[in-house]
């Protein structure tokens, strides 16, 4: 295994997934619209009182990301199942974790682009003020999305092959995301208010630890779960 060859494979898979997605665009539009819809629905469900809604906005935003983003993961493997491409993919020489890394990068890029769309929508709907510490807020956004994409890509490798794929993926994935949801929502909420108690740092460190732990374990475990 040479690093250059493996990096080439990771890049090839990410490029392939993103190119296929760019050609159809069906996924992106659906996920982005669903994200916006969730934001809107929460607004309706929690009442028009601005103060209430602004207080819970960070949590709602992250839920919108989770509920809409979960669609992206099974679709990423659907791409392989349609033309029987998965079998060919598994027959190339090289390490199997490159498949995971490539798909992870593609899913991450996809989710970040979706967030580019729904963040402004959330700011508008919930009347959020862009805080001074917005770079740190972007960091929280990024770290949260990385963790989400990592576990989503990992579990979808199994769920997409199962007969109950729509229900199995959320069932496996969402309990695992609890620490991420808490940390991301808390950090976002704190930063939106200027981080008065200095909590954001702790939550960011937790996000980072979460990402590192699960990125490493997913990469190590992936070869045991991907199969034709």
């Amino acid at each position: 295994m040479t690093w250059r060859a493996e990096a080439g494979r990771v890049g090839a898979i990410a490029w392939k997934d993103l190119t296929a997605e760019r050609r159809t665009k069906a996924n992106f539009n659906a996920v982005a619209f669903l994200g916006m819809l969730v934001l809107l629905l929460f607004g309706f469900a929690l009442g028009p009182d601005t103060a209430t809604v602004r207080g819970v906005a960070p949590g709602i935003f992250w839920l919108a990301v989770l509920f809409s983003g979960v669609l992206a993961f099974n679709r990423s493997y659907q791409l392989e199942l349609e033309g029987g491409a998965l079998e060919s993919l598994l027959l190339y020489p090289g390490e199997r974790w490159t498949i995971f890394a490539g798909k992870l990068l593609a899913n991450l890029a996809f989710l970040l682009l979706v967030e580019v769309v729904i963040v402004p929508v959330a700011v508008v709907l919930y009347q959020l003020a862009v805080p001074e510490q917005w770079p740190r807020l972007l960091l929280v956004l990024f770290l949260g999305t990385v963790g989400f994409a990592t576990l989503g890509t990992f579990y979808a490798a199994m769920a997409s092959r199962s007969r109950a794929r729509e229900v199995l993926l959320p069932l496996l994935l969402f309990p695992m995301l609890v620490p991420l949801l808490i940390a991301a929502a808390e950090a976002s909420a704190a930063l939106l208010e200027g981080d008065p108690m200095g909590n954001a740092g702790t939550w960011i460190r937790l996000l980072l630890a979460f990402d590192v732990v699960f990125l490493a374990s997913a990469i190590l475990a992936f070869e045991h779960v991907i199969e034709v």
Partner: protein
Amino acid sequence: MEATMDAARAPEVTRRTRFSILAWLWPVVLIAAQVYAFAISPPDRDMGDLQKIMYVHVPAAWNAFISFFIVFISSILYLWKRDERHDLLAASAAEVGAVLTALTLVLGSIWGRPTWGVWWTWDARLTSTAVLFLIFVGYLSLRAFTDEPERRARWSAAVGILGAMNVPIVYMSVRWWRTLHQVQSSPSTVDSPYAWGLRANAIAFLIVLIYFVRTRYAAARMEREAEQRLDAAALAAGGYNA
């Protein structure tokens, strides 16, 4: 794996006698521990006798964590050695763990009702246990939806390992979350009048755990052996398992 009928192994009858001691030991120890705990502990100044529910709730929670630890170790061993006995042990521990977590949650809820007037308190331990319960349920659902034994074993092992690794992270994050938003808190479990009662019951529940896991594991082994004999017959004859 032998493709002939005479490769069958005799069912391990000896196991039954070996842990039949446990079969009568566990109820005895459990009752003894409960009685002991009730006897030595005074009624709590706030909760009165309701506090006694702790002697099942807390040991159940601790042993659920032990179950999960068994799932974790067995899953790693399976991926390393590919011996399906490790997979069967993990599955057995997961089932018992799921029951223990459900028990913990129900009792926590029952405790909360008269104390705080609500069926659920978002306290750190209870909430973490709820997440743990859902992780167990996910693990068992995956097993239920996967028919191929080899695939099921590999996938459950991966899911079990990641799930188990998340348990301390879940616990930590929920606890920090709770300290930030102080609401109802759980009863302290470290005060000395209660500690001995808890320890006694923790051990009693550990014996319960061991017994149940071993019984479930023995059943799983027998199921698997039956399946393997069917396989052998199918290989020799028509190509289809009965």
